[in-house]
Symmetry: C2
Subunit: 184 residues, 2 copies
Amino acid sequence: MDRPTGIFVDGMGAAAATSGVLTQLQGRIFALLYLHRHPLALEEVAAELEQSKSNISVNIRGLVEWHLVRRTHVAGSRKDHYEAATDFWRVMQEIMERRFRWNLRQVLATVAETERALTERPGRKQDAAGRVSGAFMTTRLGALRAFFAAVDAGVGAFTQGQSFEPETVKNVLRMVPPRTSERS
Amino acid sequence: MDRPTGIFVDGMGAAAATSGVLTQLQGRIFALLYLHRHPLALEEVAAELEQSKSNISVNIRGLVEWHLVRRTHVAGSRKDHYEAATDFWRVMQEIMERRFRWNLRQVLATVAETERALTERPGRKQDAAGRVSGAFMTTRLGALRAFFAAVDAGVGAFTQGQSFEPETVKNVLRMVPPRTSERS
DNA sequence: CTGTACGTTCAGAAAATTCTAAACGTTCCA
DNA sequence: TGGAACGTTTAGAATTTTCTGAACGTACAG
C-alpha cells in the first residue's frame, strides 16, 4: 500500500470509528476500495489491511448493506470482488432511513409504551407533596413525542428530496413547558 | 421506580445505546430525570439505576456537556442535584455541531492530508497497466471532498435556522464520475 | 483544627466486543 | 465423482470498554 493510501485508510478508519454507523475496519475497507480503480478480491483486502479473511468477510457485508460497497464479478476469476460506491446521496438516504429514523421511532415507540403503562394504572401514585405524578409525566412524554415526531417527519421529507425547514422543529418546542426550576 | 418509569428508562437506554452519541446508561439517566418533577441527587440516581456513584458521576458529566442535563442546587442540601433539560433544539444543535460536523471535518481533513501526500511524491507510482494512479485518486478525493463539504455547509445552515435544500447536496454528485465497472 | 459528607480519580475486575483460525458448505473443474 | 478454491460460520482468544470500590481532595460544620 502506498503512502497516500495508507494515510487515507487510517484517516477514514478513525472517522468511521467515531461515526456511530461504521466500525473502524469498515472505514478502512471502504477507503482502500475507494482509491482503487479496479475491484479487489476479499483476499486482497485482507492482505492489505492485515486482517483475517473471515473478519473482512463479516465487515464488508455491512458495507454492502449500506450500499457503500458493491460486490462484482471479475473476468477470469471466481473470487468475489468488491468496489467502492460513489453514489453518496444514496448511501446517505439509506443511513438516514434505516439508521437515524429507525432510532427516532425507537424513542417514539418507547414513549407510546410508557403512555400506555401510565393509563393502565390510572391516578394511583402520588408524589411527596401529595400530587398525582401521572399528569406531569404525561406532559413530558407529550413534549418528547412532539419533538421526535417533528424531526422524524423532517428527515423523511429531506430524504425524499424536499427541503427541511428548521422552524418546523423549533416551533414544536413552543408547547413544551420550561424546566421545573426555571418556572416563574 | 414505578412501572411506567421503568419502561421509559429501559426504552430510552436501548435507544441511546444504538444512537452512536450516548451510552445506554446515559440514556437511562436522562430518562429517569426527565420523568421527575424535581432534581435528583447523584446518590438517588445511582440507587434507582443500581449503579455505583462513580459510574453515574462520570456518565452524567457527558449528559451535562451535551446540555441534556443541568446541574442545580437544592435548598437545604449540599449535594449536587440534576434535572433533565427540555430544550431539545439546543441539544440537537450541540450534537450537530460538536459531533456530526466534527466528524465531517475529520473526513475533510483526511482528504486534504491525502492530497498533500499525493503531490509530495508526484507521478512515480504506476498501476499494472502502466498508468499513473495518482490522477484517479485525485479525482476520487475531489468527489469525496465536494460531497462532504456540501453536507457540512448544509448542516451548518440548518443549525443556524436556515432551511436545508437536499438539491444542493445532490447536485454536487453530478460531477462525480460513475463507478469503474459501469462506465460506458 | 478536626471530622464528616461529598464528588472525582484511578487501578483493577467484569463484561462486551472484535478478531482469528479451524471447520464447514458450496461451486466448479478435471 | 472427487477435490480444489472459495466464502461463511463459529468457538474461543485477544482486545477494548464499562463498571466498581477504594483512595483522594475539597468544603463545610462543629
